[in-house]
Amino acid sequence: MALTHDDVKNLISIIDSAEHLEEIELSWGDFQIHLWRNAGASRSTSANAPAPMPATPSVPSPASDRVAPSPAAPPHAVASPAAGLDLAPGEVAIRAPMLGTFYRAASPGDPPFVEVGQQVDAGDTVCLIEVMKLFNSIRAGVRGTVTRILHDNASLVEFDEPLLVIRTESTGAT
């Protein structure tokens, strides 16, 4: 079953006009669509999910446009952690499913899980996020090549912050 542009538009108009509907999640086969309306610009899977999905399957609803602060609002001093991240075509950002400490290796002496330029499979662990001695493995979620690692080892990452960028294989230039 194929999803047309009109289908997506219909879904968006449903969530946009509904009074008390916050999100819609549909999945069939390999396909998944997740729409929501709130102030956040993007969203990853729940913090408990072992493998975060890259942001690609989600279609942000136009409803989120309506939350832009009005001119009367105080000056915007808070940058979204996603701000300033430019993704080339075919690139996806792997985002933090939770706030915590970012680790590139399983333990201090070990080699990093990945380096820039390295090929990864969807199931490969690319980093760890630690929340009070609890280590969460973050998987690539897609097959491709690591193009950027956005944080130093042992730095704090916020919820939903981009961690690494991967150029996916299907659309990648190489």
């Binding site: 709130n38 102030a39 956040g40 969203r43 009005s70 105080p74 808070v78 630690e130």
Partner: protein, 453 residues
Amino acid sequence: MPLPFKRVLVANRGEIAVRIVRACDALGLESVVAVSQADRDSLAARLATKSVCIGPSPSRESYLKPETLVTAAIGTGCQAVHPGYGFLSERAAFSRMCAENGLVFIGPSPEAIQSMGDKITAVQMAEQANVPRVPGSNKLESLEEAQREAMRIGYPVLFKASAGGGGRGMRLVEREADLVAAMKSAQSEAGAAFGDPTLYLEKYIRHARHIEIQILGDAHGNVVHLGERDCSVQRRYQKLIEESPSPVVDSGLRERLAGYAIALARRVDYQGAGTVEFVYDEDTREAYFLEMNTRIQVEHPVTEMVTGRDLVVEQIRIAAGKPLSFIQDEIALRGHAIECRINAEDPEHNFAPGPGHIRSWSTPVESHVRIDSHCFSGYFVPPYYDSLLAKVIVHGGDRREAIARMERALAQMEVTGVPTTLSFHRAVLAHADFRDGRVGTRWVEERFLDRRH
């Protein structure tokens, strides 16, 4: 002498997060506001030194995660954590976790939180401190015991289910002739609702007022009170209007209640800001211990208005190990203060919450008026949290002047885009019962709302 910490994590949201950021500013401290995804652009986040996104919008995935908040505090270089009210503010485990990770928890010790958080322990502690509790029985074993206890307590009495709350298994008994039937139906209701038909009896207080004493205790053994607040204007146990002083408390009663509150605070070695709540029987003029809240309260500004003291600043100083900045004799109650809680709820539709976009937000600009709020034109009131939009607080030389100022302030306040309880507050302020100070805890539901429909 400088404080032993420089940077405070604000583990809360909404107006109280703004309030804490401002208290940090006043003390020259940096603040980091922990925000959920829905609160990324909140006013507190904009005013703070920094904000940090701790998780998705639902509270259980963000503001209710102790490990995440502690990690965020350490990771952003904070040395102290202010929990605000609600969320994790009265979780002993969170206070303990902060301490174990080298963070100063701005609040009382885990032991004090624990003992006051557990109802039975709290009542036992109150009894040990000679604070009276609502007259009642232990668990009832037989009909004969119920009759004997009811006689001892004095009618009217209330049957309550030992296993539960929420009104189920509760029966009001006005006279002895009704006791048997009431006990049987209460037992079967309690059994059906909680799987345990055990009951106990409590004195029924027909004309009850909610009166609470604000206290502050420091690490050096000083405990002071800052007078009372009367929070009798409630709907379904939610406070809507608070004032200080109470229209029914004279100096004798104030001293008595304050004495109870201080005794209880000393009993648990209380450090920080706390509130001891009482139910006051207007017919017998007796007051009974209800519970102690081990945090800053929503309605703390009315106390600040009549005492001129900053309770949040004081909380932070106490947590830093400083002695209180004043002694009991230096605390004077001056004039009268009233607070109205403006919620995003529709009073015409059973107070249904109405989150959404605030199209326009305009608040009164008057002397003697204080607005504690996180809202502004264009702000999106998220559906995930409580519906408090603003607290309108006024001060006057006496109660009459405070009421007049509140009426003017409410008349000037205008909010569009979301429903608000402004019309409810205007109507209460205009009501003769409120103006005469004749409002008990059941007044809103039994008299005010009932008569309008």
